[in-house]
Symmetry: D2
Subunit: 151 residues, 4 copies
DNA sequence: TTTT
DNA sequence: TTTT
């Protein structure tokens, strides 16, 4: 009943988005996001530790990602953990964990640009999942087909 | 631009919800929520500290709150900080901070009940703001008028 | 640089904690946590979806978990995503995702009890990772060995 | 008991930090942070809404803020809501809400620079409250006096 | 004004 | 008072 499954990430993209257009007008984008933390070990040496996350975006969000996100960019992400399970060739149970992105925001102003798309000023920097909540994570002009999400 | 303003609270209600039905079929519920933390001070004495939060819910959520939430209950809340500003009688600038609730969940199973409403088992315990995101914070059978929110 | 990797979960334990005492006075507890969301599909039928999470707690937290957490209990958890990678027998790259718990709180008052430990009233319900931040996630009387965490 | 009071903000600083050195070697920094959301109203017009937050940082964090944060910078913040209450001259109850910052991160790479301090690459961009949790929100070389916080 |  |  009534659980909470929430992930908040802030990091840098390890590659450009991989976007697939599926049957039924669906779109999915996959991203690799690195979150790095650094701390001092007991000897006072600085240690960096990077965690890589597999992100999955659907519908209109996937399209925004395809259009604006690039390798190296810093983004803020909210989503939830999703585990896919299957059996591999040897009949072994396998699973794979992904972050299903519910909203994301590009950070840092002009860290990439060059050809800063005017469309970005019209809402693209912040994208929210289907049926945007008017007052919280408003989405741009996206008429995503998110209702068709196969989750 | 593209900011994040997110609040996560888990605590107990200090009173029953106060609900107002407004013109235009709008409903608002106000809640008082206590979040308590306890720690040991430098003398090893346990100290409890309670913070009181003013919560505000609109539309279908307000109705769910009115129906199910009671003084003493423990709830989990997601929302955002909202500040109202005005001038008082002396022309002084005043402001008041509220948490605009975007979703909440009742916790702890049967901590109140007595007449545990069957509806509760059918989705009421978790309520989300207007236009529920299908895969994240699904709302019950609420046809809220959240589009009319005057925020 | 300077990333964020944060997980917030609220759900029920699928089993009692599995606790291992390691060399060097270290303790680790593993938990299975279910977060369930329910929504209506496009036909209006209610669908429930449960995600299972592997939680990992270390040191004093593991001990608190061992002592107080039981199958079925509802808990709130904050932590971060951690991926372990290794090669399996066939030389295949494998990985496994866990949630490294940084703090947790037991919910719901007396939903289990039976032999409600008096100690629970003295701080155990809320446990934080090593070196508790005095004002935020205060831990009980735990002198955990968290400094020895092999992360 | 055992509550959660958590705030996550991502926005831009409206001014340079205001830092005060107090007796007993304490330091406090106050920041004004703007979080902006934009959405389309029912007529399809884009609306921007900015919320201003009063942030409060103590000890080593305040010093990091003083040294590195500047008006206009984009930062990510975690903290908690704190309300101060008092009586004003007319004997009226007044209160003021602040965000007590527990950790923050500077965003966006080189949005200020000019004299990008080398120290920034050595840990300053991410600062955590007293007694840093080794694996989660590691702090720089700060030996803050956070134990003396009057919270 | 809640809860433990 | 920030940012886009």
């Amino acid at each position: 009943m009534a659980g909470v499954n929430k992930v908040i990430l802030l990091g840098n993209l390890g590659a450009d988005p991989e976007v697939k257009y599926l049957e039924g007008d669906n779109v999915v984008a996959n991203l690799r996001l690195a979150t790095t933390e650094s701390y001092k070990d007991r000897n006072g040496n600085k240690v960096e530790q990077t965690e890589w996350h597999d992100l999955e975006l659907w519908g209109g969000q996937a399209k925004v990602a395809e259009q604006y996100l690039k390798k190296g960019m810093q983004i803020y992400v909210e989503g939830k953990i999703k585990t896919d399970s299957w059996q591999d060739d040897q009949g072994q149970n396998r699973k794979r964990v992904r972050i299903r992105v519910l909203s994301f925001t590009m950070l840092g102003g002009r860290q990439d640009s060059g050809s800063a798309p005017p469309a970005m000023d019209q809402g693209a920097p912040q994208a929210a999942a289907s049926k945007p909540q008017p007052a919280s994570t408003p989405a741009p002009d996206l008429s995503g087909d998110d209702d068709d999400l196969p989750f």
